[in-house]
């Protein structure tokens, strides 16, 4: 999966500004970050932007909303993780069947 370095920075920026709250949304075809706060908003975003990448952090609400959606095969996901408090990282996955398979996240300039 390839995204712009600036986009990755924006996701990390969002994550660090709200480390303990739900971060969930999509990167649309132009790599604009569009956030969702409810299941309905998230569902609508995915319908309106089929060619999008989904991003989420490890907040329980983000996971709950994400798990309530039926993920389409081939859907790309970016997880914002925080293994050390205050230090964020990104992991990319590709939905294959019911499994999210880790894939390499490449950053372009």
């Amino acid at each position: 999966m390839k995204i712009k370095r600036t986009t990755a920075n924006k996701i990390m920026g969002q994550a660090s500004s709200q480390p303990d709250s739900c971060l969930l949304g999509i990167l649309n075809a132009n790599e604009q970050l569009i956030k969702a706060h409810t299941v309905e908003e998230f569902k609508q975003l995915l319908i309106d932007h089929p060619d999008s990448i989904l991003f989420f952090n490890q907040d329980p609400l983000a996971r709950e909303i994400k798990s309530s959606i039926v993920h389409v095969d081939g859907q790309q996901h970016i997880e914002v993780f925080q293994e050390t408090k205050g230090v964020f990282g990104l992991r990319a996955y590709l939905q294959i069947g019911k499994i999210q398979t880790p894939v390499t996240l490449e950053l372009s300039e």
């Binding site: 924006k10 604009q32 569009i34 956030k35 569902k43 319908i47 089929p50 060619d51 095969d73």
Partner: protein
């Protein structure tokens, strides 16, 4: 004369077999013209739009039916959606040239599944997944019906730059008085050519295929292209970006542009629009003035 942007339902008397014919014209043109994919990819989109409209009208849904194939191939995304109001929209995305157009759909999409989602607007949508098989969308859909143990269904699809058409036959539950009727009628329907499907009107098609049968043809129902995007929806998306992100985009690009993936509608928001959205002070670019 051929009726356009209409769907016709018909019943074959003395059999539990129903059918539908669809012809998309202006609604198809909207989707066709908005795509910059190859003719092959657009032909597939035409097939998909005709198919979802046929399928949506066989189901009693109060929402939408979406067909989606997503992969890593030359064509990496195909989405076609029809609603219970008989509105359609769709898109196809191609990342590079198709090396072998005679290859199977699985090779062209580098995908192995076709996904059909039925969203009734309440709760979790129902999603049916089947292997992506065959060389055409009709073959893939027929495999889907077999795989998902639904009613026996056959579809024939055709599209070109001006029209997208389809024919569906479905065997309803019930005993066949004439045991051979399903086999006979599908064999007859299989003789239809793409040209006939695209150019002939509903009466002519039914006469050519089933002139020895007694058929009840119902009134036509109109189909139209409609995208659910709006400036209001886009405003909400910008709100969801957050003030800081919105302000950054304004600084970088002077305005925020969001395009609809389905209809290519381009929504632009300048600093004044954005400021109104957030209804509070933002660090706007200095060269922008507000009312």
């Amino acid at each position: 004369m051929k009726s356009n942007d209409q769907i016709f339902r018909f019943l074959i008397d003395h059999t539990p077999i129903r059918g539908q014919l669809i012809s998309l014209d202006a609604s198809w043109q909207k989707c066709y013209q908005q795509s910059d994919a190859s003719e092959y990819a657009k032909e597939l989109l035409g097939h998909a739009l005709a198919a979802v409209t046929l399928l949506a009208s066989t189901l009693k849904i109060d929402g939408s039916l979406t067909l989606q194939i997503r992969g890593q191939g030359a064509i990496h995304l195909l989405v076609a959606q029809a609603t219970n109001d008989r509105t359609i929209r769709g898109l196809v995305r191609q990342s590079h040239e198709i090396e072998n157009p005679d290859a199977s759909l699985q090779e062209i999409f580098k995908a192995d599944k076709i996904v059909i989602t039925i969203d009734n607007g309440k709760g979790k949508p129902h999603q049916g997944i089947a292997p992506l098989t065959g060389f055409s969308l009709s073959e893939a859909l027929e495999a889907y019906f077999e795989h998902s143990e639904q009613l026996p269904t056959r579809v024939w699809l055709a599209s070109n730059e001006s029209s997208a058409s389809g024919l569906l036959l479905q065997k309803l539950p019930g005993e066949l008085e004439d045991k051979d009727s399903w086999n006979r009628l599908t064999q007859l329907a299989s003789t239809i050519t793409d040209q006939e499907l695209l150019e002939l009107d509903e009466n002519e098609i039914l006469y050519r295929l089933f002139h020895e049968e007694s058929i009840a043809l119902f009134d036509a129902e109109p189909v139209r292209f409609q995208c659910s995007c709006s400036r209001n929806k886009t405003s909400n998306m910008i709100k969801s970006l957050g003030k800081s992100e919105a302000s950054d985009i304004l600084h970088e690009q002077g305005k925020i542009q969001i395009s609809c993936e389905f209809c290519n509608a381009n929504y632009e928001f300048d600093s004044v629009d954005v400021k109104q959205l957030f209804e509070s002070d933002m660090n706007l670019p200095e060269n922008y003035t507000t009312h």
